[in-house]
């Protein structure tokens, strides 16, 4: 319990810094924000009015705490360029399911790839299987997500016609359609993460297999699947889920390009549009939300890790 509180505290600290960063970001923009928002042909009066309306004439600190207060209430501002008038919160909420689907399915793929390969490689270190797994992992990591996305589209979509090349169908609408639309993007996104996970799984398991308690488990007569699945994987779980947590940030980042390629209207696309149109309020909102997502995921990972592997705390 103490541990969780400690972690929460630390996460809050990080979150605070992130919000500072998110807040400061638009401030770094060249040019006068109010002028940009007001438009090229606005008169100085109009610009001043816009500035006042947006509260941009208040001192920095006051604006920052206003920002924090707003965020606390769930108000991330109003989009100024991408969809003028729409609240950032609603835009993000609309975009989230698509990206979340990709992330979850992608992580699933990554695990499905990493666990069997990692176990197979770790059982026979130095063998042909081990080397093949290493090579496969290296190659998978070397192909950037967007290249893989293009290849997959060419091969499985335009080529074989197994999967659609574009679009997203919400899970709630039609499960099969959702699935067929999500497979290629998730695959493209997660291959590199899966490769990294494979390496870490293999490494962690090789370490664990050498531990005395594995020998004890065998000496107790436990069957091979039980020794691997129950004892070894639990021992290796710490580094494995750690890497999983770290990969989430990477996956979200990758989704920007993948969503563009597959024409999916998710967080990544939103971020892209925001950057393209220099919609600072939206950029700030997306950065904040994704950071919160990453922090929360890592917090969960920490808690799960602690539950799975209670460690002696000196």
């Amino acid at each position: 319990m103490r541990f969780i509180v400690q972690r929460l505290f630390s996460a809050c600290g990080t979150l605070f810094l992130v919000s500072i960063a998110a807040f400061t970001l638009p401030e770094l923009a060249r040019g006068d924000a109010a002028a940009i928002i007001a438009g090229d042909d606005a008169t100085p009066d109009v610009v001043e009015r816009v500035r006042h309306n947006l509260g941009l004439d208040r001192p920095l600190f006051s604006r920052f705490f206003g920002f924090i207060a707003d965020v606390g209430r769930g108000d991330l501002g109003v989009s100024i360029r991408v969809k003028p008038g729409a609240t950032v919160t609603s835009m993000i909420a609309d975009a989230l399911p698509a990206t979340a689907s990709m992330l979850v399915v992608g992580l699933l793929f990554a695990c499905l790839m990493a666990l069997p390969l990692g176990v197979a490689a770790a059982l026979r270190p130095g063998s042909v299987i081990d080397r093949m797994v290493s090579v496969f992992a290296a190659l998978s990591q070397a192909v950037p997500p967007f290249v893989l996305a293009l290849v997959l589209i060419l091969w499985l979509s335009l080529g074989r016609g197994w999967f659609p090349a574009v679009g997203y169908v919400p899970l709630t609408d039609d499960v099969t359609q959702w699935a067929s639309h999500i497979v290629l993007p998730a695959l493209a996104l997660a291959a590199a993460a899966g490769a990294e996970l494979t390496r870490q799984t293999r490494g962690a398991l090789v370490d664990v297999f050498e531990q005395d308690y594995i020998r004890t488990a065998i000496a107790k007569g436990l069957s091979k699947p039980v020794v691997i699945g129950r004892h070894a994987l639990k021992g290796a779980s710490s580094p494995i889920i750690t890497v999983l947590g770290l990969q989430v940030a990477r996956l979200i980042g990758g989704s920007i390009v993948v969503e563009r390629i597959f024409g999916i209207a998710g967080l990544g696309s939103l971020a892209f549009d925001a950057v393209l149109k220099r919609d600072f309020v939206l950029i700030r909102g997306v950065v904040l939300v994704t950071a919160v997502l990453v922090i929360v995921v890592n917090l969960i990972v920490d808690v799960v890790d602690d539950r799975l592997n209670p460690k002696a705390r000196a």
Binding site: L17, R131, P239, A249, V257, F280, V286, V287
Partner: protein, 304 residues
């Protein structure tokens, strides 16, 4: 554990395999060769790009309408793009841009990250804690997204993009430099040197940097790979390189636009990017393995 701490503990080094007498020597040898081959590629490729002007390579901007979307021929070894420009030439000249940009980004990350890391390693607990939280915050924002956001704020363009990528990569370097500095700080010879009147700068130069240089090299290698991908991603989305400049990323972008008409076009730049990524990965692995050459001393577990 904060994200930064977790990154510290996730070794980019998978633990050594058990020393099986039969294959270990063979493996080491093969792996050395592979890393060496990767290094050769990693040196040859930029060299080819830099020397593109001297080599018998066509003009990358020359449009030859007759070979639009051409496949590899004796004239155009890698085919020609939708405007009839030779792909090989564009690849080499574009490579200059991409690789230089990657080096710039890594440079930014090193300049920002290493001093902060050394500071965190040598200074007191509070400074270390504050810096760690800062790095945590940076690492909480997905890398590409952060790069995007920074570019969004500063405006599109390759320089801004690479500055952004450099900032994004800074935390990793900070962590590596920090752990190197901490290791050294713990050694008693530091106390002795300080007692003998050794100035902090000298300490840094003679002790901290050499100790951290190995892991730093490994990180640099991996980061070059990341920066190349990042440049490609940003340019692919039009936020990096601006026309008429070309880079591998913009080449992928253009090939994506004609993907339904001709699928060959994405091959040259994609392979170049992937090859660079693979090479930096293998070289990084190789350096890391060379550092950790000790290995052994493990009790072999029972056969499953």
């Amino acid at each position: 554990m904060s994200i930064a701490e977790r990154v510290d503990q996730t070794p980019t080094v998978p633990p050594d395999e058990m020393a099986v007498p039969r294959t270990s020597r063979v493996r080491l040898f093969v792996e050395q060769r592979v890393a060496f081959a990767a290094l050769v590629v990693l040196v040859a490729l930029p060299l080819a790009c830099v020397l593109a002007g001297v080599l018998p390579v066509q003009d990358p901007n020359l449009q030859v309408p007759t070979v639009r979307l051409g496949h590899p021929t004796t004239d155009n070894w890698l085919g020609a793009d939708n405007l009839g420009r030779d792909n090989l030439a564009r690849l080499l000249y574009g490579g200059r841009v991409t690789l230089l940009a990657a080096v710039q980004a890594v440079g930014v990350a090193v300049i920002l990250g290493v001093p902060l890391g050394v500071l965190a390693g040598l200074a007191g607990r509070w400074v270390d804690a504050v810096l760690r939280t800062c790095m945590d915050a940076l690492m909480s924002i997905p890398p590409l997204l952060l790069a995007f956001a920074i570019v969004g704020v500063l405006g599109p363009g390759l320089t801004n993009a690479m500055l952004a990528v450099g900032i994004v990569m800074t935390p990793r370097f900070q962590r590596v430099a920090r752990s190197g500095a901490r290791q050294v700080a713990r050694e008693t010879y530091i106390e002795a040197s300080r007692a003998a009147g050794c100035s902090p700068w000298r300490l840094l130069w003679r002790h901290v940097l050499p100790n951290a240089s190995g892991p730093l090299l490994v990180q640099i290698s991996f980061s070059i790979g990341f920066a190349v991908t990042a440049e490609a991603s940003l340019s692919f989305l039009g936020l990096g390189v601006q026309a008429p400049q070309a880079s591998w990323g913009s080449m992928v972008r253009e090939s994506f636009n004609v993907i339904r008409r001709d699928s060959w076009q994405i091959v040259p730049p994609s392979v170049a990017i992937a090859a660079t990524l693979l090479a930096t990965s293998l070289v990084g692995d190789g350096i890391r393995d060379a550092i950790n050459r000790s290995g052994g001393g493990r009790s072999a577990g029972a056969r499953l």
